[in-house]
Subunit: 468 residues, 2 copies
């Protein structure tokens, strides 16, 4: 989908290959231990601990015992520098499964404690760039916290030696080179998730590629002298989230932003050929199809990338704006706002039908509103969705650099964890045995709804929590 | 989907790999010259002529000039034996694109003439196994013909030296070994398409694997003395057709039957290591998802292979039976037939709702009836579909044997044609120049509806013809 789009909009030749196309080596199978359809927690634990576990498990096995991760082992056994880069909250399932051990992904308060070293192994993550500052802030600071308790992990992190960053300026001021003494770093550039690429204000948040580039060079500089190397996990976290919302335009832009990060990482590998780069998804989301039949008559064979070209905001952003009190009570003004701003300007839909406009203007339920906006874009693009959840389809596996050929072919997701263990010569079991299990469950599993509007409104992970 | 199903039904380990999983090398990109979503004719021409052409083109370029195919060049330039095996009509798009040159796929009468050598190159196909006898029969034989004219190609083929087969017994009697003098062979085991695997009566039709096995050994024996080798195209043709009907159970069984054919072909490669096997699809069909959300509430992460286990017939077969006059007028008897035979026995659905039964019993429109049956099975399996047509997604590429490693990675479908040209050392342009273009269009493009009931009722290719 993204390739077709970029080819058509930029008038590229049929043979154009993305930064990922060029390094395709095979596919990854995604089922978890308790379902044919995995969630992100079990999916990430397959990569981090090379085991199958239950949906929602963060680096714990089926029996909830902790499993040592490749990140922890790289740090403890090889003296490598370690990093996590994500556009979600840094406490979200994927980065969490490399750096914490909890029985349910929603325990993000506890995950944050792990990430600043508050567990039996001490601090193991040297660099974190992402969102999720709210899980480090005490609930006494109502507007910036989503913690259930009054702990100030941000200050605790500083006290433990972390350099904390929360603004674009602080990010920019961070020197990429000769930064050994700057580690560890905790950079959280949004209270909750970072913005979708399609909504991102580049003056206030760095891109995934910028974070990847800086992380690669800081970690490399930090370990250059002792030649220990580094382990870095980079996630284009919100590709999945856009698919949960069935938002094809936000999905597309986050995919292309991810390509840019891959380009940055490949350049690093070219300059440092003793490095291996792996790119893989934990699962498919949305039951996405690059074709959609719109009428009972047999469909023409086509889809329409141009329908995504002029979309300027995510459905999440638009629905938040539409449902905010500021969007106005005056019915005529609201109709014009929906027609001129929402459809024409933000969605790039100049031919919206009266019916579409009036329905969107009157809808007050966020789930229904999002569905309506999704249908407006997806039908014009002729893109299909089967679910707001995940699917069981295999995902593409990409690899580049040293030993990348060992990942060729069709693999279980656990094989990717095993590959990392093998190329780094790690012993995960010995790490597992060092992790005390007493911090795996919280006293309460209650999840606090975060107060940051569009970026968390009805976030899929809260639905998921309800499903488990 | 098929792997999950087989694993669950046969209680196989998570790591089980199908005969295809084991030989995955990359992916193929499927767009045609005039659409991001290809049809099978353009898709097959990419493989046979290594060019992009328009949807519906059978081995002709955008300007309708003929393009020499790898099959023709293998025969003419290398003296190789050649074969086509399919479960569709042998005159259908995929086998046609290796053996005929016509401006539209629906000209199957003309394609049949090409296939028995009635064009400038003379006979180039040594062996054909499949369906489609009706396009070789004169329209004077109303019950067995789908030709527009009175030509008897079946007799013409015999006169030209073809051994003609139309029954399972004739197929079984055909010796696999020492059959050089038996070539050429025209085996057409059904008037139109051969049966879906789920409907197949093994006493009357061979399986795809059986046809593949016999074809491989006959072609190999025929060229053993002169060491010329052979080119064979084997298609599991109806995998696609089941997806057009959004019929997950028929789709599944034809996929598994295809795996069996791959196993047969891999065994041949193991015994003849100078052979290369390529397995690839021309496109995805159905916008198929291995997950489907059934309610507005956020879905659980699962799909249900067991729902496909006890399905005993294709939707095509069932809808044909239901709409045939024999299915009865007595409303009570019809209700019981639908409940006990259609739902409980044929679909394996014991918990059909009264509403489902009565709607199916009363539906007289075949498209709506099929949709209803598709929904009954697909919802219980939690399998999603976005279209009755094709989609633009990349498809898996598999290869095994000599030089198979050259196909690793992400490729345009034309690269697969180029690979065959390169490994066999062919010159397609020289073949193109030998093909006279005067037989590319028929006097009339009219398409005769075939009279063979379930196997052609509303067949997707006729919809496609209408769309172009």
């Amino acid at each position: 989908m993204a390739r077709n789009y970029v080819q058509q909009i930029q008038d590229l030749p049929i043979g154009f290959q993305s930064s990922l196309d060029e390094i395709l080596v095979g596919s990854s199978r995604t089922r978890s231990s308790n379902s044919l359809v995995t969630d992100s927690a079990a999916g990430a634990t397959a990569f981090s601990c090379r085991i199958k576990t239950y949906n929602a498990a963060i680096a714990v096995a089926d029996d909830k015992s902790p499993c040592g991760t490749v990140l922890e082992a790289a740090k403890l056994q090889r003296g490598m520098a370690t990093g996590l880069v994500a556009t979600s909250r840094i406490t979200h399932a994927t980065p969490a499964a490399f750096s914490a051990h909890v029985s349910h992904r929603d325990m993000e308060d506890l995950i944050a404690e792990y990430q600043i070293g508050n567990y039996s192994l001490g601090p193991v993550v040297d660099l974190m760039f992402g969102g999720g500052r709210c899980h480090f802030m005490p609930n006494t600071q109502a507007n910036v916290s989503c913690r259930m308790d009054a702990r100030d992990l941000w200050s605790e992190a500083r006290a433990a030696g972390f350099h904390t960053l929360s603004t674009r300026k602080q990010f920019d001021d961070l020197e990429s080179r000769s930064s050994a003494k700057k580690l560890p770093i905790l950079g959280a550039f949004a209270p909750s998730h970072m913005a979708y690429e399609i909504d991102r204000d580049s003056a206030s948040q760095p891109s995934l590629a910028e974070m990847a580039d800086k992380a690669l060079h800081i970690l490399n500089s930090a370990t250059k002298k002792k030649s220990a190397g580094f382990f870095l996990m980079i996630e284009g976290s919100r590709i999945d989230m856009a698919a949960h919302t069935n938002d094809p335009a936000a999905h597309l832009r986050d995919i292309v932003a991810y390509w840019d990060a891959v380009t940055v990482a490949r350049k690093f590998v070219d300059e440092h050929p003793d490095t291996v780069l792996i790119s893989v998804s934990d699962h498919e989301t949305g039951g996405f199809s690059v074709a959609k039949q719109l009428t009972p008559e047999y469909p023409e064979y086509l889809w329409n990338p141009r329908a995504l070209e002029h979309v300027r905001h995510s459905i999440e952003y638009i629905s938040y704006k539409l449902l905010s009190p500021l969007a106005g009570d005056d019915q005529e003004a609201r109709y014009k706002f929906v027609r001129d701003t929402v459809f024409a300007d933000w969605l790039g839909i100049k031919d919206a039908k009266h019916e579409e406009i009036i329905t969107a203007a009157q809808e007050t339920d966020s789930t229904k509103l999002r569905q309506l906006l999704s249908t407006a874009i997806s039908n014009r693009a002729q893109i299909g969705w089967a679910t707001h959840g995940h699917s069981a389809v295999d995902v593409n596996l990409y690899a580049y650099g040293k030993d990348a050929h060992l990942l060729r072919g069709n693999h279980e997701n656990t094989d990717i964890g095993k590959f990392i263990v093998n190329v780094l010569g790690l012993d995960l079991d010995s790490v597992s045995s060092k992790i005390k299990a007493d911090r795996i469950a919280q006293g309460t599993q209650a999840v606090k709804e975060t107060p940051f509007g569009s970026q968390d409104l009805d976030a899929p992970e809260h639905h998921l929590a309800a499903a488990h």
